[in-house]
Symmetry: C2
Subunit: 201 residues, 2 copies
């Protein structure tokens, strides 16, 4: 019997989501699991939980900017704090859901390409021209990508994803669900690993 | 040459501080370090950073209550969610600073006794009678403990500790500083361990 997939909710503007996106597939595979990726808007989940982004708080802001980069180095990943941060990510997310409809693997590849572009190369995913250029680099027809993110059907699909995330208890990113158990944050990696290897604890 | 001590800032009402308090001395000792404990009021640091306790947020509340207990189990520690939570902890903290004046080791023992009493046995540290009983159990004269927490000098000492914590960048608990590098949260254990064993990364 196949083990149930892991649900991985992320936002394209979340540094900790970027870090998690780089280890979650390998971790899942080591334990015979697959991963279902869910691109969502973190702002919607913040609003539901009456939260603000960590960089919107004095004192905490300085800490998290330091911790983003350090947590990436801890995982051996390149990281450059984007100058424009955080950014609205609905366009990248709508392209994700469009690709996901026919080929979830291709959607995952797009998610990784976007996260790496933003957090390692500073590509501003909220700038339509930059996102079109990234789409072209990825092998999509840029005008078609733009048509997708302006299409009501994909706006609606993202909206449903956001609602599902809130319904699943998401209030921060990344948010990972394994066998119904929620894990918030890149720093829950060790707990997720124990759950996958030994079951509930 | 001795390596500089690790600074460990905590609040008696913080579950993640309790968990960290149970591993930090052993971790430090393995790397030839000592630990300076700082009892502070998390509420003061929340205010400075314009934050509220995690349980004050809808959705996030449910998650953290689950995560407190799971994170304790992950470290093999007993944990029972206190019915009254969070609580004001200035009395326990003032006794900590009073003990610390003459015997930091005894202050650490008091901190551990309080954290274990609250998080493993549900002893409400904000109830003067319960705290006096705990003081007696610990070997203090209960009326003297009460006199200490009502004494302006120890109120002032705690105030200074809170101000130092904010000045050091604290906005949440536990907050650990190693060689000037700040680590927030029980979940930064692995990063602290790498820092201690390999130096800055």
């Amino acid at each position: 019997m196949n083990k149930p997939p892991i649900d991985f909710y992320f936002d394209f503007s979340s540094p900790y989501s970027y870090i998690t996106s780089e280890w979650i597939e390998a971790l899942a595979a080591r334990h015979g699991r697959t991963v279902r990726w869910h691109a969502v808007l973190l702002g919607v989940t913040f609003q539901a939980a009456e939260l603000k982004p960590p960089v919107a708080h004095p004192i905490k802001r300085d800490y998290v900017l330091r911790d983003f980069a350090r947590s990436a180095r801890f995982e051996g990943l390149p990281y450059t704090q984007p100058e424009v941060f955080p950014i609205p990510t609905q366009n990248a997310a709508r392209v994700f859901w469009w690709l996901n409809e026919n080929d979830p693997g291709r959607a995952v590849a797009w998610a990784r390409a976007c996260l790496r572009a933003y957090f390692a190369r500073g590509v501003n995913l909220s700038d339509p021209e930059a996102l079109k250029a990234l789409a072209a680099e990825f092998g999509l027809e840029p005008d078609h990508a733009e048509a997708v993110w302006n299409e009501p059907a994909w706006k609606e699909r993202l909206k449903r994803a956001n609602e599902s995330a809130v319904a699943a208890g998401m209030f921060g990113a990344p948010y990972v669900i394994v066998d119904g158990e929620p894990f918030w944050g890149n720093d829950r990696k060790a707990q997720i690993e124990r759950w996958l290897s030994q079951g509930p604890f």
